[in-house]
């Protein structure tokens, strides 16, 4: 998959813009920079994602290119923090982001990393309308930002082949998640820009399972991403879904 979508061909970006995007790419990929919280969470997210894909498709993570032959879509790909590891594992990966400025940033970093990734500007709904289909749809920290979660999840379902796997993570809605994700992450720690999240858009795991069923998906798993303030690290918890959580669902 080397052809880039015409939405954002590298050639249309002028030299000054490239320097700016290179700086932004450096920022996206700076472990101590403004996306530090995402980098901290990323190994834990990847751990969950890779194990679920390997189990669902019978792949051996010790093999050189375990995800070879799998077509994976990452919605809200940002700077490519998930796309790049998926490409390294051998997957054919498409990264889509509604924010046009993220795409050249991700493309530049992929080129610097020697990876072939199909990055596009767009939305899940657009791609579903185009009839694209994937073995896996990664839908990480997006659903809490969309206007109509059911329509969005329905598009995610349409983007899957039958038997396909949908991984969706988001933030729970309760007083603790308000304190942690909005007061803590946006105001106290300044991890995220103020106004990144609107608490009333957060979705509880039960609500998300209901929405996925309405969208024609069969939910099979939910786990928490738990932040440990002492170790300053994240881990997967089968019991604590009080703030960040992740789900797996299948298209029948």
């Amino acid at each position: 998959m080397s052809d880039l979508s015409p939405a954002a061909p590298t050639s249309t970006i002028d030299a000054g813009e490239i320097a700016k995007f290179e700086a932004m790419a450096a920022e996206w990929w700076d472990l101590e920079g403004k996306f530090k919280p995402l980098h901290m969470l990323n190994p834990t997210r990847l751990d969950y994602i890779t194990n679920q894909i390997a189990a669902e498709f019978g792949r051996d993570l010790d093999a050189p290119a375990p995800f070879e032959g799998l077509r994976i879509l990452d919605i809200g790909c940002g700077g490519g923090l998930l796309c790049e590891p998926m490409a390294r594992l051998g997957a054919t990966i498409v990264g889509v982001d509604a924010a046009p400025r993220n795409i050249p940033v991700a493309q530049i970093h992929a080129e610097q990393s020697g990876l072939t990734i199909d990055y596009r500007v767009g939305t899940a709904e657009d791609m579903a309308a185009d009839g694209e289909q994937f073995d896996v749809v990664l839908n990480m920290e997006v659903v809490e930002h969309v206007a109509d979660p059911l329509a969005y999840l329905t598009a995610c379902q349409q983007l899957l082949k039958p038997g396909g796997l949908h991984i969706c993570s988001t933030i729970n809605r309760n007083p603790k998640s308000f304190a942690m994700a909005i007061v803590g992450a946006e105001y106290v720690m300044r991890w995220l820009p103020k106004g990144t999240h609107e608490w009333n858009k957060f979705i509880t795991p039960d609500e998300l399972f209901d929405l996925m069923r309405q969208a024609g998906l069969n939910p099979v798993d939910r786990k928490g991403f738990k932040f440990n303030p002492l170790g300053w690290s994240w881990s997967i918890s089968d019991r604590d879904l009080s703030v960040n959580y992740v789900t797996a669902s299948l298209k029948p």
Binding site: A54, A55, E56, G58, P219, V220, D238
Partner: protein
């Protein structure tokens, strides 16, 4: 991709895993049991030995329910008397000897001894009768992902199993325990157990004898006659270096040392099998449950081979898990069922591990003063009947 679907997947085809497969199968669950090593099922197999396993009463009940016991009854040697001997006197002479008789605590014997290879053969034959149970040998557990709805297990041949419950009965270095991320605490004693069988001049009268001196107990467990001579299985626990010295002696020298260590209770002992050396450890998993996962037997607890507690504790795990599976048939492998299992078994396992560990340490004592106290302790426990019967009932799993 080849993915089979069963109610229960059991990793491990030792006595515990195979018995579990038969018990869950008899209770109507679909079961797949896998073990990377083919089981030894013939006495003539070069890997076979004369080792036996003692089944106490609760374990026999379980074997009956699983439909295994009728196949074994004829070969089972009853254990009527357990004899504890303290031989820490001059030149290894006997300073205390007490018999614990099963008739003190009921009509039934303490338990029954069964030869391991025959046990495995008969359980496998029973599994063949159960259409809902599959045993795969030469294939082991490789990885798993536990979801809310089920677990997906990948085997070493890359085939997959979708299951409501994964049971780790796969031994002291349990791959399932590792995959579930459950920690285990290990205590080492610097000790090893030599296991072998001997023939001897005097009959054993179906008495199991535990001889304490120093460095660890020497236990003779009655076996059926071997080549026309009375025969016993022996577990001889010694320090690590001594174990290697004994293992490397020639057969005649070894038999002579074993005879001395046995305080001559059965006359001359003659080595009848090869010698095997096992490290002695106590290892306890910090919990017995994880998502869609239950640990049992040595995957959950390893104890020194004293007092027939190991396998019987394992079968007590199975008893608890089986009863919970039957009451949670529609929510098999749920968190609620598995935490109930962890609660039910954790304290009993901790109690038995501590007890066995303590017994082992008292048996290692080399100090003459402490040896004398130990001998007096054995007499005391034996001679005060309520104390004796309480401890015997506990040892028998009757609490």
């Amino acid at each position: 991709m080849d993915r089979q679907s069963v109610d229960i997947f059991i990793s491990g085809g030792g006595v515990a895993g195979l018995t579990a497969a038969a018990a869950f199968g008899a209770a109507g669950f679909t079961v797949l049991c896998a073990d990377p090593t083919p089981p030894v099922t013939e006495g003539s197999d070069p890997d076979a030995d004369l080792r036996t396993t003692a089944f106490l009463q609760p374990a026999r009940t379980l074997l009956e329910e699983a439909g295994i016991w009728p196949r074994l009854a004829a070969d089972a040697t009853p254990l009527q008397v357990m004899r504890i001997v303290d031989a820490s006197g001059v030149e290894g002479s006997v300073t205390a000897q007490r018999d614990f008789d099963a008739s003190d605590v009921g009509d039934a014997p303490f338990g029954w001894n069964l030869r391991n290879w025959m046990l495995r053969r008969e359980i496998l034959a029973r599994l063949d009768e159960l259409p809902n149970v599959t045993f795969r040998s030469g294939v082991g557990f490789r990885a798993m992902v536990a979801r809310d709805s089920h677990a997906i297990v990948t085997l070493t041949d890359r085939t997959q199993v979708e299951t409501a419950l994964v049971i780790g009965a796969d031994g002291r270095d349990s791959p399932v325990r590792h995959a579930a991320g459950i920690a285990a605490r290990t205590r080492r004693y610097g000790q090893k157990a030599l296991t072998f069988a001997v023939t001897h001049a005097n009959p054993h009268d179906n008495v199991s004898t535990e001889i304490h001196r120093e460095g660890g107990p020497f236990t003779l467990v009655p076996l059926p006659d071997h080549n026309g001579s009375p025969c016993s299985a022996v577990v001889w626990m010694v320090d690590g270096a001594e174990a290697h010295r004994l293992r490397d002696l020639n057969d005649a020298e070894f038999s002579a040392e074993a005879t001395v260590r046995s305080a001559d209770l059965y006359g001359d002992l003659t080595l009848a099998t090869r010698r095997q050396v096992w490290p002695i450890i106590t290892r306890t998993a910090t919990r017995l449950d994880g998502p869609r996962t239950a640990l049992m037997a040595e995957a959950a607890h390893v104890m020194p081979p004293i007092g027939a507690q190991g396998l019987n504790t394992s079968l007590a795990d199975l008893r608890s898990l089986l009863d919970l599976a039957i009451t949670h048939r529609n929510t098999l492998g749920s968190r609620e069922m598995l935490s109930a299992y962890n609660r039910a078994r954790h304290s009993d396992i901790a109690l038995r591990s501590r007890g066995i560990s303590l017994l082992n340490q008292t048996s290692q004592i080399g100090n003459p003063m402490l040896q004398k106290m130990r001998a007096e302790g054995v007499k005391l426990i034996h001679d005060i009947k309520p104390l004796r019967t309480t401890l015997m009932r506990m040892g028998l799993g009757q609490r």
